[in-house]
């Protein structure tokens, strides 16, 4: 576990500008919204909904490009030729793509609290919305990583951007797929009233389960993958 944390931290430090950008993103949007005077409650809710979708897209980009970036830069050779198993490395790679998402969610929580008074937001509803977003980030980052094991270059991002909406569309009518229901929950969330229920416990657990399945799949692909170093 210590090695996973070390590699994750190193990857995060290496990509610190991405993390800072994701942390700043919700605050920039909030500033833009407030620049035009006191925002209406509808504007605030719409902004939070959009931020959720942007956050998912950004995590999809980070997770689908993480492996390719390490491969192209050959830093992967340094790590994998040490006493690190492929499972540990993949976990670190996934965490390094997911952590900026967590930072983004925390940043959204901060902006939500700032906008709370103006839009009469319910804190519980906001927390449930962000919980749903976090679970979807788990799912989309695992999907991104899975595609990066299957496809080279920028194609993993193409794969995720085709597959994720398709799965979300399918799961809208199939509750057991979960993820689509969570997106629906986010988009339907009014945020003004006190929410008394979790964002569909079944949808949340089903999405988290899918994320685990995708990670296991990515690991099995990675275990058999050749890492081509340059040279010779």
């Amino acid at each position: 576990m210590r090695k996973v944390a070390t590699v994750t931290w190193t990857l995060l430090l290496h990509n610190r500008w991405q993390v800072l950008l994701l942390a700043a993103w919700p605050w920039l949007f909030t500033l833009l919204l407030q620049a035009g005077g006191d925002p209406s409650p509808e504007d605030v809710v719409s902004l939070l909904h959009k931020e959720c979708l942007y956050g998912l897209a950004l995590i999809a980009i980070l997770s689908s490009s993480a492996f390719g970036n390490e491969l192209r830069s050959r830093r992967i050779v340094f790590v994998l030729s040490r006493a690190i198993s492929r499972q540990q490395y993949l976990t670190a790679l996934w965490l390094s793509a997911l952590t900026p998402g967590l930072v983004y969610v925390l940043s959204m929580l901060g902006t939500g609290m700032v906008l709370r008074a103006a839009a009469h937001l319910s804190v519980t509803s906001l927390l449930f919305l962000l919980l749903a977003l976090l679970i979807l980030m788990l799912w989309v980052s695992a999907l991104g990583l899975m595609f990066s094991m299957l496809l080279p270059g920028f194609l993993p991002w193409v794969g995720v951007s085709v597959a994720a909406p398709f799965i979300l569309y399918l799961s809208g009518s199939r509750p057991y797929l979960g993820s689509g229901m969570l997106v629906q929950y986010i988009l339907d969330s009014g945020l003004a009233q006190e929410s008394t229920h979790l964002p569909g416990l079944a949808s949340a657990s089903s999405t988290a389960l899918q994320a685990s399945g995708l990670l296991v799949g990515a690991y099995f692909l990675f275990r058999r993958k050749d890492i081509y170093p340059l040279g010779d």
């Binding site: 210590r2 090695k3 070390t6 590699v7 190193t10 990857l11 430090l13 290496h14 610190r16 830069s73 050959r74 830093r75 050779v77 340094f78 790590v79 994998l80 030729s81 040490r82 006493a83 690190i84 198993s85 492929r86 540990q88 058999r224 050749d226 890492i227 081509y228 170093p229 340059l230 040279g231 010779d232």
Partner: protein, 317 residues
């Protein structure tokens, strides 16, 4: 004694092209083994298989007695790739990271890092690792490999980009490591370096090991003898009549060196004595590794030997 690195008939194919074919060798504790071959011969591929970056298509092998895919075996291995890459961090942090991922105990890392920073002249380096010169990066990669005090060092072109002082210091470090019972397996195009420090060399051609022998056997192939003769000047008629090939080389006005085939020394010594010459010395002809490297292909092709036959022929008992 269990070898620290062992390849048993390992093959590797990329998209139907065989990059390694039936490669078999082992590296024992306390020896330095050189791995020679032209570009594209498969050296980096073999090293990459050893550290688990690539999977062998056929054959088996072991690293410190464990399968190549077992990451715990790499705790006692130091690897330097031929083109090292670094994270966005300074030299010190890069070496600490190497120690941490090798599983070194946290309390022992700072002292050891200071030691290798000094050893590789990186203590003054404050620049980000990625912004160092190529030579400094190579030293940093070596420092990362040495930090955990490994039992086996796998080095891919370790002297590339190093200045002469750094090459000399690396040589001393490798020799000290060998004396401490560690094993070193390295690929290089710096044949003079290989000649100086290796106990054994492997020649790889098109993915096959075509020759495997100790340095002593390779360099002192007793096929020719060199006689140093006094009293028969270079211009003497005797040399012209005897028609030696190659012609004697002049050491001084009175001393010449001549090469004769092994087994004919009695015949030639008698001739020289009868002509009034005096034999100063007789030694087996020492070949340079470079000439052997360049002729390895021709030798192998001319003899018609399969790689395995060459291996059986060359491998020391």
């Amino acid at each position: 004694m269990q070898p620290l690195l062992e390849f048993r008939g390992i093959g590797k194919s990329f998209r139907g092209r065989d990059v390694l074919r039936e490669v078999s060798f082992s590296v024992d504790p306390g020896e330095i083994v050189g791995f020679l071959g032209l570009n594209g011969a498969g050296k980096t591929t073999a090293l990459s298989i050893a550290v688990g970056l690539l999977h062998a298509s056929s054959g088996t092998g072991s690293l410190l007695g464990r399968p190549f895919s077992d990451s715990s075996a790499r705790r006692r291995v130091g690897f330097v790739p031929d083109n090292p890459a670094f994270f966005r961090q300074c030299s010190q942090a890069a070496i600490i990271l190497a120690g941490q991922v090798q599983g070194m105990p946290g309390h022992s890392i700072p002292a050891r890092v200071r030691e290798v920073l000094a050893q590789f002249h990186l203590a003054e380096s404050v620049l980000e690792a990625r912004k160092l010169s190529r030579g400094q990066q190579q030293r940093l990669a070596l420092a990362q490999a040495f930090v955990s005090n490994p039992d086996l060092l796998l080095l891919d072109e370790p002297t590339s980009a190093l200045d002469p002082r750094a090459v000399h210091e690396l040589r001393e470090l490798l020799l000290a490591a060998r004396s401490a019972g560690k094993a070193i397996f390295f690929s290089s195009h710096q044949l003079s370096e290989v000649e100086r420090i290796c106990d054994r060399v492997l020649f790889l051609r098109e993915g096959r090991i075509v020759r495997q022998s100790t340095m002593r056997e390779i360099l002192l192939r007793a096929e020719m003898l060199v006689l140093t003769v006094h009293g028969l000047p270079p211009g003497s008629d005797h040399w012209r009549i005897w028609q030696l090939v190659p012609q004697p080389s002049v050491q001084s006005s009175e001393v010449v060196s001549v090469e004769i085939p092994a087994g004919q020394q009695r015949h030639w010594i008698e001739k020289i004595w009868l002509a009034g010459g005096e034999l100063l010395s007789m030694c087996p002809k020492s070949e340079s590794l470079e000439s052997l490297f360049l002729t390895a292909d021709e030798h192998d092709q001319a003899s018609g030997a399969t790689p395995l036959e060459s291996l059986r022929h060359e491998r020391p008992e």
